[in-house]
Symmetry: C2
Subunit: 171 residues, 2 copies
Amino acid sequence: MVQGARILKQLIKEVPDFPKPGVSFKDISPLLRSPSALREICDTFEKKVNLSEIELIAGIESRGFILGMLLATHFGKGFIPLRKAGKLPPPVCQKSYSLEYGAATLECQPGQGKILIIDDVLATGGTLQAAIALAQQAGYEVVDVAVLINLKFLNKMKFSDREIISLIEYT
Amino acid sequence: MVQGARILKQLIKEVPDFPKPGVSFKDISPLLRSPSALREICDTFEKKVNLSEIELIAGIESRGFILGMLLATHFGKGFIPLRKAGKLPPPVCQKSYSLEYGAATLECQPGQGKILIIDDVLATGGTLQAAIALAQQAGYEVVDVAVLINLKFLNKMKFSDREIISLIEYT
């Protein structure tokens, strides 16, 4: 990890046994409170993503909205919400996927353009994989996929040849 | 409404009978896709809120996250999420409130500072009123409260002497 990422990691608070026993929750609240940390996130992503190609930032509900709008505003891009089922008015495209317990569905309105998809955390990868498939189905070209935090020890999904860009890693 | 607000309103798509019959949904997606509309939102809020006093922007989950992070990034402030119950790790403060059908709970971590609370839409006012009480209970000083869209014909709550700042109004 680069220096900036090390400083950001120090601002993340690990909360043991939340939301359930055995899980160490990564609380990004202290980082979000800090304007200089938010700028550092933007500066670090700037070196990693193809900003000149990207037209729109797609954020996954709901913490992906926070990261997505941070990048959209800082870099002067538009924003697309990838939402939980039933929130967006029609017409919508839809993609269901499995969770550890049960299933979930993401929705997005059809559209065009080159996009970056962003979420806060990459764990097993199920949500991100569904988000990529959904965005493509909706008509978008997915140029880059990024997360703030990559929990590498939980990654299960394959993303073909696609690299998932991340700032902070836990191995 | 000022000129900027008129242009923004033209970008909002009214969707009849969503999410249920008789309701005209205000879809802000076209506005979020437009970098110039996002800048216009920031410029218009800049004239209406006490930016020099405000240290942190508090966004209400989940579309308030989008608006909150837009303002936090544009004006170089920190961000606080006011979340649905069970999402934030402890310690949290909590405030329950009534909805048209049933009830809901907002949570926020304790903290200090002068804040602006923002959400996308003011309807009856229940969520916003709970958010103000919650933030105060958590230790924050609520300097301003703002929404992108004020559905004035639905407003039911009293906000004491507090003015709810809004950009776009439906009467």
